[in-house]
Symmetry: C2
Subunit: 244 residues, 2 copies
DNA sequence: CGTACATTTGATTGAGTTCAAGCCCTGTGG
DNA sequence: CCACAGGGCTTGAACTCAATCAAATGTACG
Protein backbone atom coordinates (compact mmCIF):
# COMPACT_ATOMS: atom_id res chain seq x y z
CA UNK A 1 0.00 0.00 0.00
CA UNK A 2 1.48 3.30 -1.06
CA UNK A 3 0.22 5.48 1.74
CA UNK A 4 2.56 7.85 3.42
CA UNK A 5 2.83 7.13 7.12
CA UNK A 6 2.54 10.45 8.94
CA UNK A 7 4.27 8.92 11.98
CA UNK A 8 7.27 7.73 10.06
CA UNK A 9 10.75 8.70 11.14
CA UNK A 10 11.87 12.00 9.73
CA UNK A 11 15.15 12.60 7.92
CA UNK A 12 16.94 13.14 11.21
CA UNK A 13 15.68 9.83 12.52
CA UNK A 14 12.84 11.60 14.27
CA UNK A 15 14.81 12.29 17.39
CA UNK A 16 14.60 16.03 17.06
CA UNK A 17 12.00 18.62 16.36
CA UNK A 18 12.24 22.11 14.97
CA UNK A 19 11.85 25.21 17.13
CA UNK A 20 8.60 25.89 15.30
CA UNK A 21 7.23 22.50 16.29
CA UNK A 22 8.30 23.09 19.84
CA UNK A 23 6.61 26.47 20.03
CA UNK A 24 3.53 25.01 18.44
CA UNK A 25 3.38 22.34 21.11
CA UNK A 26 3.51 25.01 23.79
CA UNK A 27 0.72 26.92 22.08
CA UNK A 28 -1.44 23.81 22.06
CA UNK A 29 -0.68 22.84 25.63
CA UNK A 30 -3.67 23.85 27.73
CA UNK A 31 -1.27 24.77 30.53
CA UNK A 32 -0.09 27.79 28.60
CA UNK A 33 -3.36 28.85 27.02
CA UNK A 34 -3.25 32.29 28.64
CA UNK A 35 0.32 33.16 27.70
CA UNK A 36 1.16 35.57 24.91
CA UNK A 37 3.87 34.92 22.33
CA UNK A 38 6.53 36.63 24.38
CA UNK A 39 5.79 34.56 27.44
CA UNK A 40 5.66 31.40 25.34
CA UNK A 41 9.09 32.17 23.93
CA UNK A 42 10.40 32.62 27.43
CA UNK A 43 8.88 29.31 28.58
CA UNK A 44 10.34 27.73 25.49
CA UNK A 45 13.74 28.96 26.55
CA UNK A 46 13.39 27.32 29.95
CA UNK A 47 12.50 23.89 28.56
CA UNK A 48 14.93 21.31 27.24
CA UNK A 49 14.11 19.28 24.13
CA UNK A 50 14.46 15.52 23.99
CA UNK A 51 13.82 13.19 21.08
CA UNK A 52 12.55 9.63 21.24
CA UNK A 53 12.06 6.68 18.92
CA UNK A 54 9.36 3.95 19.03
CA UNK A 55 9.55 1.76 22.14
CA UNK A 56 12.07 4.06 23.80
CA UNK A 57 11.40 4.59 27.48
CA UNK A 58 11.02 8.29 28.22
CA UNK A 59 9.79 8.01 31.81
CA UNK A 60 10.10 4.89 33.83
CA UNK A 61 7.90 3.98 36.79
CA UNK A 62 9.70 4.25 40.10
CA UNK A 63 12.18 6.89 39.03
CA UNK A 64 12.20 10.19 40.92
CA UNK A 65 9.37 12.57 40.06
CA UNK A 66 11.57 15.19 38.52
CA UNK A 67 10.25 15.72 35.03
CA UNK A 68 7.22 17.20 33.38
CA UNK A 69 6.91 16.53 29.65
CA UNK A 70 5.01 18.28 26.91
CA UNK A 71 4.77 16.39 23.66
CA UNK A 72 6.01 18.43 20.71
CA UNK A 73 5.70 15.85 17.94
CA UNK A 74 4.90 12.16 17.62
CA UNK A 75 3.01 10.09 20.12
CA UNK A 76 3.77 8.54 23.50
CA UNK A 77 2.16 5.64 25.31
CA UNK A 78 1.33 6.15 28.97
CA UNK A 79 0.99 2.84 30.76
CA UNK A 80 0.91 1.40 34.25
CA UNK A 81 2.90 -1.71 35.00
CA UNK A 82 1.12 -4.57 36.76
CA UNK A 83 2.51 -7.40 38.82
CA UNK A 84 1.54 -9.93 36.14
CA UNK A 85 3.40 -8.02 33.44
CA UNK A 86 0.22 -7.18 31.55
CA UNK A 87 0.61 -3.44 31.26
CA UNK A 88 -2.53 -1.36 31.37
CA UNK A 89 -2.36 1.46 28.85
CA UNK A 90 -3.90 4.56 30.37
CA UNK A 91 -3.63 6.85 27.36
CA UNK A 92 -1.84 7.78 24.19
CA UNK A 93 -0.40 11.29 24.16
CA UNK A 94 -0.10 13.59 21.15
CA UNK A 95 1.31 17.08 20.55
CA UNK A 96 0.39 19.50 23.32
CA UNK A 97 -0.33 16.77 25.86
CA UNK A 98 1.35 16.72 29.23
CA UNK A 99 2.64 13.91 31.38
CA UNK A 100 5.03 13.19 34.19
CA UNK A 101 5.03 14.39 37.76
CA UNK A 102 6.88 16.78 39.98
CA UNK A 103 7.34 17.11 43.74
CA UNK A 104 5.64 20.49 43.32
CA UNK A 105 2.50 18.66 42.34
CA UNK A 106 2.57 16.34 45.31
CA UNK A 107 4.38 13.36 43.85
CA UNK A 108 7.61 11.80 44.96
CA UNK A 109 8.03 9.10 42.31
CA UNK A 110 6.82 8.45 38.81
CA UNK A 111 4.15 5.77 39.06
CA UNK A 112 3.76 5.05 35.37
CA UNK A 113 5.83 4.25 32.34
CA UNK A 114 5.83 6.55 29.33
CA UNK A 115 7.37 5.12 26.16
CA UNK A 116 7.58 6.18 22.56
CA UNK A 117 4.67 5.04 20.43
CA UNK A 118 6.07 6.68 17.31
CA UNK A 119 9.20 8.72 16.90
CA UNK A 120 8.95 12.28 18.12
CA UNK A 121 10.18 14.89 20.53
CA UNK A 122 9.19 16.23 23.91
CA UNK A 123 9.90 19.36 25.88
CA UNK A 124 11.20 18.60 29.35
CA UNK A 125 10.76 20.79 32.40
CA UNK A 126 12.74 19.98 35.52
CA UNK A 127 11.33 20.83 38.92
CA UNK A 128 13.14 24.17 39.32
CA UNK A 129 12.36 25.18 35.76
CA UNK A 130 8.68 24.50 36.08
CA UNK A 131 8.60 26.13 39.51
CA UNK A 132 9.97 29.26 37.89
CA UNK A 133 7.23 29.18 35.27
CA UNK A 134 4.54 28.79 37.92
CA UNK A 135 5.94 31.67 39.95
CA UNK A 136 6.15 33.96 36.95
CA UNK A 137 2.80 33.05 35.36
CA UNK A 138 0.15 32.30 37.96
CA UNK A 139 -2.41 31.48 35.29
CA UNK A 140 -0.48 28.32 34.53
CA UNK A 141 -1.45 26.80 37.88
CA UNK A 142 -5.13 27.43 37.19
CA UNK A 143 -4.84 25.97 33.70
CA UNK A 144 -3.00 22.99 35.08
CA UNK A 145 -5.88 22.45 37.48
CA UNK A 146 -8.33 22.48 34.60
CA UNK A 147 -6.20 20.05 32.65
CA UNK A 148 -5.92 17.58 35.47
CA UNK A 149 -9.62 17.94 36.25
CA UNK A 150 -10.51 17.10 32.69
CA UNK A 151 -8.17 14.11 32.75
CA UNK A 152 -9.90 12.97 35.91
CA UNK A 153 -13.19 13.29 34.13
CA UNK A 154 -11.91 11.12 31.28
CA UNK A 155 -10.63 8.57 33.74
CA UNK A 156 -14.02 8.39 35.40
CA UNK A 157 -15.59 7.85 32.03
CA UNK A 158 -13.16 5.02 31.39
CA UNK A 159 -14.13 3.49 34.73
CA UNK A 160 -17.78 3.69 33.85
CA UNK A 161 -17.12 1.98 30.54
CA UNK A 162 -15.01 -0.75 32.04
CA UNK A 163 -17.86 -1.35 34.47
CA UNK A 164 -20.78 -1.61 32.11
CA UNK A 165 -19.70 -1.89 28.48
CA UNK A 166 -18.63 -4.92 26.47
CA UNK A 167 -15.15 -5.25 25.03
CA UNK A 168 -16.44 -4.33 21.59
CA UNK A 169 -17.99 -1.12 22.90
CA UNK A 170 -14.81 -0.28 24.77
CA UNK A 171 -12.64 -0.87 21.73
CA UNK A 172 -14.92 1.37 19.69
CA UNK A 173 -14.84 4.07 22.34
CA UNK A 174 -11.05 4.00 22.61
CA UNK A 175 -10.63 4.17 18.85
CA UNK A 176 -12.99 7.13 18.67
CA UNK A 177 -11.04 8.93 21.35
CA UNK A 178 -7.66 8.17 19.80
CA UNK A 179 -8.87 9.33 16.41
CA UNK A 180 -10.08 12.59 17.90
CA UNK A 181 -6.97 12.95 20.00
CA UNK A 182 -4.11 11.93 17.76
CA UNK A 183 -5.68 12.70 14.42
CA UNK A 184 -6.15 16.41 15.07
CA UNK A 185 -7.36 18.06 11.94
CA UNK A 186 -6.72 15.19 9.57
CA UNK A 187 -9.64 12.78 9.41
CA UNK A 188 -9.09 9.07 9.01
CA UNK A 189 -5.41 8.94 9.86
CA UNK A 190 -3.82 5.56 10.44
CA UNK A 191 -3.64 5.34 14.21
CA UNK A 192 -0.32 3.81 15.24
CA UNK A 193 -1.54 1.08 17.59
CA UNK A 194 -1.12 -2.66 17.58
CA UNK A 195 -3.96 -4.89 18.69
CA UNK A 196 -1.96 -5.87 21.73
CA UNK A 197 -1.76 -2.22 22.78
CA UNK A 198 -5.48 -1.79 22.23
CA UNK A 199 -6.01 -4.79 24.48
CA UNK A 200 -3.99 -3.01 27.16
CA UNK A 201 -6.13 0.08 26.68
CA UNK A 202 -9.50 -1.63 27.07
CA UNK A 203 -8.43 -4.12 29.70
CA UNK A 204 -8.81 -7.19 27.56
CA UNK A 205 -6.74 -9.60 25.52
CA UNK A 206 -5.19 -9.59 22.08
CA UNK A 207 -7.53 -12.28 20.75
CA UNK A 208 -10.74 -10.74 22.04
CA UNK A 209 -9.76 -7.34 20.68
CA UNK A 210 -8.99 -8.93 17.35
CA UNK A 211 -12.48 -10.42 17.18
CA UNK A 212 -14.03 -7.10 18.16
CA UNK A 213 -12.04 -5.30 15.46
CA UNK A 214 -13.16 -7.90 12.93
CA UNK A 215 -16.80 -7.14 13.70
CA UNK A 216 -16.21 -3.38 13.47
CA UNK A 217 -14.41 -3.91 10.17
CA UNK A 218 -17.22 -6.04 8.76
CA UNK A 219 -19.62 -3.30 9.74
CA UNK A 220 -17.54 -0.81 7.74
CA UNK A 221 -16.58 1.40 10.68
CA UNK A 222 -12.84 0.88 10.48
CA UNK A 223 -9.96 -0.42 8.42
CA UNK A 224 -7.09 -2.29 9.99
CA UNK A 225 -3.57 -3.24 9.04
CA UNK A 226 -0.33 -4.36 10.53
CA UNK A 227 0.25 -1.96 13.41
CA UNK A 228 -2.50 0.51 12.59
CA UNK A 229 -6.22 1.14 12.63
CA UNK A 230 -8.10 3.74 10.62
CA UNK A 231 -11.42 5.07 11.81
CA UNK A 232 -13.77 5.57 8.88
CA UNK A 233 -16.90 6.75 10.66
CA UNK A 234 -16.34 8.12 14.11
CA UNK A 235 -20.05 8.59 14.77
CA UNK A 236 -20.83 4.97 13.99
CA UNK A 237 -18.23 3.95 16.54
CA UNK A 238 -19.49 5.96 19.44
CA UNK A 239 -23.13 5.03 18.80
CA UNK A 240 -23.32 1.91 20.91
CA UNK A 241 -20.97 2.59 23.79
CA UNK A 242 -23.65 2.75 26.46
CA UNK A 243 -22.85 6.36 27.26
CA UNK A 244 -25.05 8.06 29.85
CA UNK B 1 -26.87 -6.32 67.90
CA UNK B 2 -26.39 -3.56 70.44
CA UNK B 3 -23.74 -1.53 68.67
CA UNK B 4 -24.20 2.18 68.30
CA UNK B 5 -24.28 3.21 64.66
CA UNK B 6 -21.86 6.13 64.31
CA UNK B 7 -23.67 7.25 61.18
CA UNK B 8 -27.12 7.34 62.78
CA UNK B 9 -29.19 10.50 62.59
CA UNK B 10 -28.48 12.95 65.38
CA UNK B 11 -31.11 14.59 67.59
CA UNK B 12 -31.67 17.31 65.04
CA UNK B 13 -32.31 14.76 62.32
CA UNK B 14 -28.71 15.12 61.15
CA UNK B 15 -29.39 17.98 58.83
CA UNK B 16 -27.07 20.36 60.62
CA UNK B 17 -23.57 20.40 61.97
CA UNK B 18 -21.95 22.49 64.62
CA UNK B 19 -19.55 25.33 63.81
CA UNK B 20 -16.76 23.23 65.32
CA UNK B 21 -17.52 20.38 62.96
CA UNK B 22 -17.55 22.79 60.05
CA UNK B 23 -14.21 24.32 60.98
CA UNK B 24 -12.79 20.86 61.50
CA UNK B 25 -13.87 19.89 58.01
CA UNK B 26 -12.05 22.91 56.62
CA UNK B 27 -8.92 22.00 58.54
CA UNK B 28 -9.00 18.50 57.09
CA UNK B 29 -9.70 19.63 53.55
CA UNK B 30 -6.41 19.43 51.65
CA UNK B 31 -7.45 22.55 49.76
CA UNK B 32 -6.90 24.65 52.84
CA UNK B 33 -3.87 22.92 54.28
CA UNK B 34 -1.77 26.09 54.13
CA UNK B 35 -4.24 28.42 55.80
CA UNK B 36 -3.91 29.57 59.40
CA UNK B 37 -6.82 29.67 61.83
CA UNK B 38 -7.70 33.24 60.96
CA UNK B 39 -7.90 32.51 57.28
CA UNK B 40 -9.89 29.36 57.94
CA UNK B 41 -12.40 31.34 59.96
CA UNK B 42 -12.71 33.77 57.10
CA UNK B 43 -13.26 30.98 54.58
CA UNK B 44 -15.76 29.49 56.97
CA UNK B 45 -17.65 32.74 56.91
CA UNK B 46 -17.85 32.68 53.13
CA UNK B 47 -19.28 29.16 52.94
CA UNK B 48 -22.90 28.21 53.45
CA UNK B 49 -23.85 25.08 55.39
CA UNK B 50 -26.33 22.53 54.12
CA UNK B 51 -27.56 19.37 55.79
CA UNK B 52 -28.56 16.14 54.09
CA UNK B 53 -30.18 12.83 54.98
CA UNK B 54 -29.56 9.36 53.51
CA UNK B 55 -30.57 9.09 49.84
CA UNK B 56 -31.05 12.84 49.54
CA UNK B 57 -29.70 14.26 46.29
CA UNK B 58 -27.15 16.96 47.00
CA UNK B 59 -25.85 17.43 43.47
CA UNK B 60 -27.65 16.12 40.45
CA UNK B 61 -26.01 15.33 37.13
CA UNK B 62 -26.86 17.84 34.43
CA UNK B 63 -27.46 20.75 36.75
CA UNK B 64 -25.31 23.88 36.31
CA UNK B 65 -21.78 23.62 37.66
CA UNK B 66 -22.24 26.20 40.36
CA UNK B 67 -21.35 24.47 43.59
CA UNK B 68 -18.26 23.15 45.30
CA UNK B 69 -18.91 21.06 48.38
CA UNK B 70 -16.74 20.15 51.34
CA UNK B 71 -18.07 17.40 53.55
CA UNK B 72 -18.30 18.46 57.19
CA UNK B 73 -19.91 15.37 58.66
CA UNK B 74 -21.45 12.13 57.44
CA UNK B 75 -20.78 10.51 54.10
CA UNK B 76 -21.83 11.13 50.50
CA UNK B 77 -21.96 8.80 47.53
CA UNK B 78 -20.50 10.09 44.28
CA UNK B 79 -21.90 8.17 41.34
CA UNK B 80 -22.19 8.42 37.59
CA UNK B 81 -25.48 7.61 35.93
CA UNK B 82 -25.43 5.21 32.98
CA UNK B 83 -27.92 4.78 30.18
CA UNK B 84 -28.97 1.38 31.53
CA UNK B 85 -29.75 2.81 34.95
CA UNK B 86 -26.93 0.85 36.62
CA UNK B 87 -25.14 3.63 38.40
CA UNK B 88 -21.39 3.34 38.71
CA UNK B 89 -20.24 4.50 42.13
CA UNK B 90 -17.01 6.44 41.74
CA UNK B 91 -16.31 7.10 45.41
CA UNK B 92 -17.64 7.59 48.90
CA UNK B 93 -16.79 10.94 50.46
CA UNK B 94 -16.12 11.63 54.14
CA UNK B 95 -15.32 14.71 56.21
CA UNK B 96 -12.79 16.98 54.51
CA UNK B 97 -13.44 15.56 51.05
CA UNK B 98 -14.37 17.81 48.16
CA UNK B 99 -16.74 17.35 45.26
CA UNK B 100 -18.70 19.32 42.72
CA UNK B 101 -17.52 21.55 39.92
CA UNK B 102 -17.34 25.20 39.04
CA UNK B 103 -17.03 27.14 35.79
CA UNK B 104 -13.75 28.42 37.24
CA UNK B 105 -12.44 24.90 37.07
CA UNK B 106 -13.45 24.42 33.48
CA UNK B 107 -16.82 22.76 33.87
CA UNK B 108 -20.18 23.94 32.67
CA UNK B 109 -22.43 21.20 34.08
CA UNK B 110 -22.27 18.68 36.85
CA UNK B 111 -21.65 15.29 35.26
CA UNK B 112 -22.24 13.13 38.31
CA UNK B 113 -24.77 12.60 41.04
CA UNK B 114 -23.84 13.12 44.66
CA UNK B 115 -26.34 11.78 47.19
CA UNK B 116 -26.38 11.28 50.93
CA UNK B 117 -24.99 7.96 52.06
CA UNK B 118 -25.60 8.74 55.71
CA UNK B 119 -26.99 11.87 57.30
CA UNK B 120 -24.56 14.75 57.51
CA UNK B 121 -23.72 18.25 56.49
CA UNK B 122 -21.68 19.95 53.78
CA UNK B 123 -20.16 23.38 53.31
CA UNK B 124 -21.20 24.91 50.01
CA UNK B 125 -19.17 27.42 48.00
CA UNK B 126 -20.83 29.20 45.12
CA UNK B 127 -18.73 30.27 42.15
CA UNK B 128 -18.21 33.88 43.31
CA UNK B 129 -17.49 32.79 46.88
CA UNK B 130 -14.87 30.29 45.84
CA UNK B 131 -13.41 32.73 43.35
CA UNK B 132 -12.92 35.14 46.22
CA UNK B 133 -11.10 32.49 48.22
CA UNK B 134 -8.82 31.69 45.31
CA UNK B 135 -8.00 35.34 44.76
CA UNK B 136 -7.23 35.94 48.41
CA UNK B 137 -5.29 32.73 49.08
CA UNK B 138 -3.24 31.63 46.07
CA UNK B 139 -2.00 28.53 47.86
CA UNK B 140 -5.49 27.10 47.57
CA UNK B 141 -5.13 26.72 43.81
CA UNK B 142 -1.92 24.79 44.22
CA UNK B 143 -3.44 22.55 46.87
CA UNK B 144 -6.46 22.01 44.69
CA UNK B 145 -4.16 20.89 41.93
CA UNK B 146 -2.54 18.36 44.26
CA UNK B 147 -5.92 17.11 45.37
CA UNK B 148 -7.20 16.58 41.87
CA UNK B 149 -3.91 14.99 40.82
CA UNK B 150 -4.14 12.50 43.64
CA UNK B 151 -7.75 11.73 42.71
CA UNK B 152 -6.59 11.13 39.16
CA UNK B 153 -3.98 8.77 40.47
CA UNK B 154 -6.64 6.86 42.41
CA UNK B 155 -8.83 6.70 39.35
CA UNK B 156 -5.97 5.26 37.31
CA UNK B 157 -5.44 2.68 39.99
CA UNK B 158 -9.12 1.79 39.79
CA UNK B 159 -8.78 1.41 36.03
CA UNK B 160 -5.84 -0.88 36.45
CA UNK B 161 -7.76 -3.00 38.91
CA UNK B 162 -10.86 -3.19 36.77
CA UNK B 163 -8.60 -4.31 33.94
CA UNK B 164 -6.68 -7.09 35.64
CA UNK B 165 -8.15 -8.05 39.01
CA UNK B 166 -11.00 -10.40 39.83
CA UNK B 167 -14.19 -9.19 41.47
CA UNK B 168 -13.06 -10.56 44.83
CA UNK B 169 -9.81 -8.62 44.66
CA UNK B 170 -11.66 -5.49 43.65
CA UNK B 171 -14.15 -5.80 46.49
CA UNK B 172 -11.29 -6.27 48.93
CA UNK B 173 -9.46 -3.24 47.54
CA UNK B 174 -12.53 -1.03 47.72
CA UNK B 175 -13.27 -2.09 51.28
CA UNK B 176 -9.70 -1.36 52.29
CA UNK B 177 -9.89 2.08 50.76
CA UNK B 178 -13.26 2.89 52.31
CA UNK B 179 -12.07 1.76 55.71
CA UNK B 180 -9.03 3.98 55.44
CA UNK B 181 -11.06 6.83 54.04
CA UNK B 182 -14.27 6.88 56.05
CA UNK B 183 -13.00 5.29 59.22
CA UNK B 184 -10.35 7.89 59.96
CA UNK B 185 -8.90 7.25 63.37
CA UNK B 186 -11.38 4.65 64.50
CA UNK B 187 -10.41 1.18 63.34
CA UNK B 188 -13.04 -1.35 62.37
CA UNK B 189 -15.98 1.01 61.98
CA UNK B 190 -19.10 -0.33 60.35
CA UNK B 191 -18.87 1.03 56.83
CA UNK B 192 -22.30 2.21 55.71
CA UNK B 193 -22.56 0.42 52.36
CA UNK B 194 -25.02 -2.06 50.98
CA UNK B 195 -23.83 -4.89 48.77
CA UNK B 196 -25.62 -3.29 45.87
CA UNK B 197 -23.55 -0.13 46.33
CA UNK B 198 -20.37 -2.16 46.55
CA UNK B 199 -21.38 -3.79 43.29
CA UNK B 200 -21.64 -0.31 41.76
CA UNK B 201 -18.20 0.52 43.11
CA UNK B 202 -16.42 -2.51 41.71
CA UNK B 203 -18.37 -2.72 38.46
CA UNK B 204 -20.09 -5.97 39.24
CA UNK B 205 -23.42 -7.29 40.44
CA UNK B 206 -25.11 -7.71 43.77
CA UNK B 207 -24.93 -11.49 43.71
CA UNK B 208 -21.30 -11.75 42.70
CA UNK B 209 -20.29 -9.23 45.36
CA UNK B 210 -22.24 -11.21 47.92
CA UNK B 211 -20.30 -14.35 47.08
CA UNK B 212 -17.02 -12.46 47.24
CA UNK B 213 -17.94 -11.04 50.65
CA UNK B 214 -18.87 -14.52 51.84
CA UNK B 215 -15.38 -15.74 50.96
CA UNK B 216 -13.74 -12.78 52.69
CA UNK B 217 -15.93 -13.37 55.73
CA UNK B 218 -15.05 -17.06 55.89
CA UNK B 219 -11.43 -16.04 55.71
CA UNK B 220 -11.94 -13.82 58.76
CA UNK B 221 -11.09 -10.55 57.02
CA UNK B 222 -14.46 -8.86 57.45
CA UNK B 223 -17.82 -8.94 59.18
CA UNK B 224 -21.00 -8.05 57.36
CA UNK B 225 -24.55 -7.11 58.28
CA UNK B 226 -27.60 -5.50 56.81
CA UNK B 227 -26.30 -2.31 55.24
CA UNK B 228 -22.76 -2.43 56.59
CA UNK B 229 -19.38 -4.08 56.36
CA UNK B 230 -16.66 -4.02 58.98
CA UNK B 231 -13.04 -4.51 58.00
CA UNK B 232 -11.22 -6.60 60.58
CA UNK B 233 -7.78 -6.87 59.04
CA UNK B 234 -7.02 -4.26 56.45
CA UNK B 235 -3.65 -5.76 55.58
CA UNK B 236 -5.18 -9.15 54.82
CA UNK B 237 -7.53 -7.47 52.38
CA UNK B 238 -4.99 -5.66 50.29
CA UNK B 239 -2.67 -8.66 50.10
CA UNK B 240 -4.03 -10.24 46.95
CA UNK B 241 -5.14 -7.33 44.82
CA UNK B 242 -2.55 -7.78 42.11
CA UNK B 243 -0.98 -4.40 42.74
CA UNK B 244 2.09 -3.57 40.70
C1' DC C 1 -46.51 -8.36 63.35
C1' DG C 2 -46.21 -7.37 58.74
C1' DT C 3 -44.00 -5.12 55.04
C1' DA C 4 -40.07 -3.63 52.55
C1' DC C 5 -35.73 -4.30 51.54
C1' DA C 6 -31.19 -6.50 52.04
C1' DT C 7 -28.90 -10.72 51.95
C1' DT C 8 -28.12 -15.50 50.75
C1' DT C 9 -28.00 -19.50 47.77
C1' DG C 10 -28.76 -22.37 43.54
C1' DA C 11 -29.06 -23.15 38.50
C1' DT C 12 -28.25 -21.55 34.03
C1' DT C 13 -26.14 -18.95 30.44
C1' DG C 14 -22.85 -16.26 28.07
C1' DA C 15 -18.95 -13.19 27.28
C1' DG C 16 -14.27 -13.39 27.48
C1' DT C 17 -9.75 -15.74 28.57
C1' DT C 18 -6.58 -19.13 27.60
C1' DC C 19 -4.26 -22.40 24.87
C1' DA C 20 -2.93 -23.74 20.37
C1' DA C 21 -1.97 -23.36 15.66
C1' DG C 22 -1.51 -21.19 11.11
C1' DC C 23 -1.03 -17.10 8.13
C1' DC C 24 0.84 -12.80 6.39
C1' DC C 25 3.65 -8.97 6.07
C1' DT C 26 8.17 -6.85 6.50
C1' DG C 27 12.79 -6.45 7.04
C1' DT C 28 17.30 -8.94 6.80
C1' DG C 29 21.02 -11.40 5.09
C1' DG C 30 22.89 -14.49 1.98
C1' DC D 1 16.49 -11.99 -5.92
C1' DC D 2 15.06 -15.32 -2.74
C1' DA D 3 14.86 -17.61 1.78
C1' DC D 4 14.18 -17.02 6.33
C1' DA D 5 12.84 -15.28 10.80
C1' DG D 6 10.21 -12.43 13.83
C1' DG D 7 6.28 -9.93 14.90
C1' DG D 8 1.68 -9.10 14.30
C1' DC D 9 -2.72 -10.82 12.89
C1' DT D 10 -6.38 -14.45 12.50
C1' DT D 11 -9.02 -18.33 13.84
C1' DG D 12 -10.65 -22.51 16.44
C1' DA D 13 -11.87 -24.97 20.76
C1' DA D 14 -11.98 -25.75 25.71
C1' DC D 15 -12.66 -23.64 29.81
C1' DT D 16 -13.70 -20.08 33.53
C1' DC D 17 -15.47 -16.31 35.77
C1' DA D 18 -19.11 -13.60 36.34
C1' DA D 19 -23.93 -12.05 34.85
C1' DT D 20 -28.50 -13.40 34.91
C1' DC D 21 -32.64 -15.58 36.45
C1' DA D 22 -35.10 -17.38 40.33
C1' DA D 23 -36.35 -18.23 45.05
C1' DA D 24 -35.88 -18.29 49.91
C1' DT D 25 -34.30 -16.35 54.23
C1' DG D 26 -33.26 -12.50 57.44
C1' DT D 27 -33.72 -8.26 59.53
C1' DA D 28 -34.88 -3.38 60.63
C1' DC D 29 -38.66 -0.38 61.37
C1' DG D 30 -43.18 1.44 61.45
Amino acid sequence: MAERNPWALGPSGGEHCSPEERLDALRRAPFFADLDEGALAEVHGIARARGFVPAETVISAGSPADALLIVASGALRWSRPTAEGKDVVLDLLGPGDVCGSLPLLGDARQVDDVVGQTAGCVLVFGAPAFGAVLARYPSVTRRALETVASRLEEAHEAIRRLSVATVEDRVAAVLGRLDLHLGRGAQGVRLPVTQEELAGMVGSTLETVNRALARLRRRGSIETGRGWVRVLRRDALTAGDGAG
